[in-house]
């Protein structure tokens, strides 16, 4: 028995140095980082498509769907993500059978657990409410004369939005969208609370297996900074590039010269 225990812990004899737990478990951390990036990309696609639809529904003058879209944004913006995720993860399998979905994904070579799917969709739906709000604000800033002129030239409502309003609104909307997505990257850590193996989850897992709490969590902070700081720099660049006020002053300067 004693010899078995001695064999089970080969690291006990090996010299310990600061950061050994990280070096030994680097594949796990990298897998977690990859998972976080994948979650964010999928959730970004979901949130952008749903957010765009909802923003358009909120500015078009129509009854039923407008009420629905408003209720959606207000509800998802004003409730915690962790509650939504728990409801999605534990509640939805009671309404519909999710087994065919996970089985089907496994059949095409994507063995993803349901916690991943539920968490990603919940993150996407949560972010979609903020995206919709940002896009709506952008659409409302465009002077009403623009859409009236387009309408009186004979464009339909959808054509007006597609050809006249949205291209102009995009410039105003992009900087806040960057902020929303950088917040989404940080919010994606919450997915660990429903057991999807992202970076945060791997940290808890490695901590539980190595007991090097300080090392592991400090390393995870560094890993998260490696994700969020480039994102923040990108958002900053986006803000500087697309700031309409700055663009206007620059143009005015050019005119004076």
């Amino acid at each position: 028995m004693i010899s078995f225990l001695a064999q089970a812990d080969p690291q006990a004899a090996a010299p310990r140095y600061f950061g050994k737990a990280i070096i030994d478990n680097l594949p796990l951390f990298l897998a977690g980082m990859g998972a976080t990036i994948c979650i964010c990309i999928v959730a970004a696609v979901i949130s952008l498509s749903i957010g765009l639809i909802i923003a358009v529904l909120r500015v078009t003058p129509s009854g039923g769907l407008k009420i629905l879209a408003t209720a959606y944004t207000e509800f998802f913006r004003n409730t915690p993500l962790i509650v939504q995720m728990s409801a999605f993860f534990l509640g939805v399998p009671r309404l519909i059978n999710t087994r065919p979905l996970t089985d089907g994904l496994a059949a095409i070579g994507l063995p993803i657990s349901y916690s991943f799917i539920a968490g990603t969709i919940a993150l996407g739906l949560y972010t979609a409410a903020f995206v919709a709000e940002a896009i709506r604000a952008g659409l409302l800033v465009i002077p009403k004369g623009q859409s009236e002129a387009a309408r009186s030239l004979g464009l339909s409502v959808l054509q007006t939005l597609r050809l006249v309003v949205i291209p102009q609104a995009l410039r105003i909307v992009l900087p806040p969208l960057g902020n929303i997505y950088s917040a989404m990257l940080k919010n994606s850590a919450i997915i660990a609370s429903i057991g999807a193996a992202d970076l945060m989850f791997q940290a808890v897992f490695v901590d539980a297996s190595t007991f090097q709490t300080f090392e592991v969590f400090t390393a995870v902070i560094v890993f998260y900074l490696m994700l969020t700081l480039p994102m923040g720099a990108f958002v900053h660049w986006l803000e500087r590039k697309f700031n309409p006020l700055r663009a206007r002053t620059l143009r005015l300067k050019g005119a004076h010269i």
Partner: protein, 276 residues
């Protein structure tokens, strides 16, 4: 006479609303979806007895159970707001100061904390601080019945939110025009008087919407305390859902309670914006 030359006999073409418009389509789809939610989710739920804990004979005990959690949530939230506003203000002033080491320290703190997930910060405080002997078990910290776990949540939330608040304060202070400062100096006001009576009142008006929206985020983030075993609203809701075996309904009720708090804060913010 020009008016006489206009042929009056042409009848004005009557404008008629076309039968089909996209608006009508959207309207019909909207009402179909709304009624589908009603008939597929709400009514079977009511019939199946999943709402019984909230409307049945034991409703008093159930609501009191959630009320206790709400009290903890509010306590954590309010103390975090106070701490993060105070420290955020200090960090903002530090970042704007002329002393270089202080400025570098405050800027790096703000950028560092803002780039981290608040979930990670709370977890870090909870799991790493005790290893260094920081346990928040000192007697006077038990004021208002705050347990050690709740202090971990408060400290984690405040670390993150104070950095965000500092950025808001800094942006507000910088948004006051430089001419105001120069005019105050020209009139002979001391630097402290200038800041207190010229800069801050103007900055504060511009900061209110951002501050309130950060308060909403903070209120939502208090739910993260549930993962470090604080008995607040979300945690209580999860326990209730396990006991009563009705996740969707309980989570809906919990979400509705958060919604009432956050939505009233956002209405307040809109009111304050209109007033300016």
């Amino acid at each position: 006479m020009p008016s006489a030359s206009v042929p009056a006999a042409v009848p004005a073409r009557k404008y008629s609303q076309p039968f089909f418009t996209y608006g009508l389509l959207f309207n019909v789809i909207g009402w179909i979806v709304l009624s589908a939610i009603l008939f597929i989710v709400v009514i079977p739920g009511l019939r199946g007895g999943n709402w019984t804990p909230f409307i049945g004979p034991d409703k008093g005990a159930i609501w009191y159970f959630l009320y206790e959690g709400l009290l903890v949530t509010l306590r954590i939230g309010i103390i975090s707001i106070a701490l993060s506003t105070a420290f955020g203000f200090l960090f903002a002033l530090g970042r704007l100061s002329n002393v270089k080491p202080l400025r570098v320290f405050c800027s790096s703190y703000i950028e560092f904390m803002r780039a981290l997930p608040s979930y990670l910060i709370i977890f870090y405080v909870f799991i790493v601080f005790p290893k260094f002997g920081v346990k928040f078990e000192w007697g006077p910290m038990n004021i208002l019945g705050l347990t050690s776990d709740q202090w971990f949540a408060i400290v984690g939330l405040s670390l993150y939110t104070s950095a965000v608040m500092a950025e808001i304060f800094r942006a507000g202070i910088l948004s006051v025009e430089k001419g105001q400062l120069e005019a105050a100096y020209a009139l002979g006001l001391k630097p402290r008087d200038t800041v207190v009576s010229i800069i801050l009142p103007q900055a504060f008006r511009k900061m209110v919407p951002s501050i309130v929206s950060q308060l909403i985020t903070l209120t939502k983030d208090t739910s993260l305390a549930s993962v470090i075993a604080v008995q607040e609203l979300t945690r209580k809701g999860k326990q209730l859902a396990e006991m009563a075996n009705n996740v969707l309904e309980t989570m809906f009720v919990v979400a509705a309670i958060y919604f009432v708090i956050c939505y009233s804060l956002s209405l307040l913010s809109k009111r304050l914006e209109v007033k300016q």
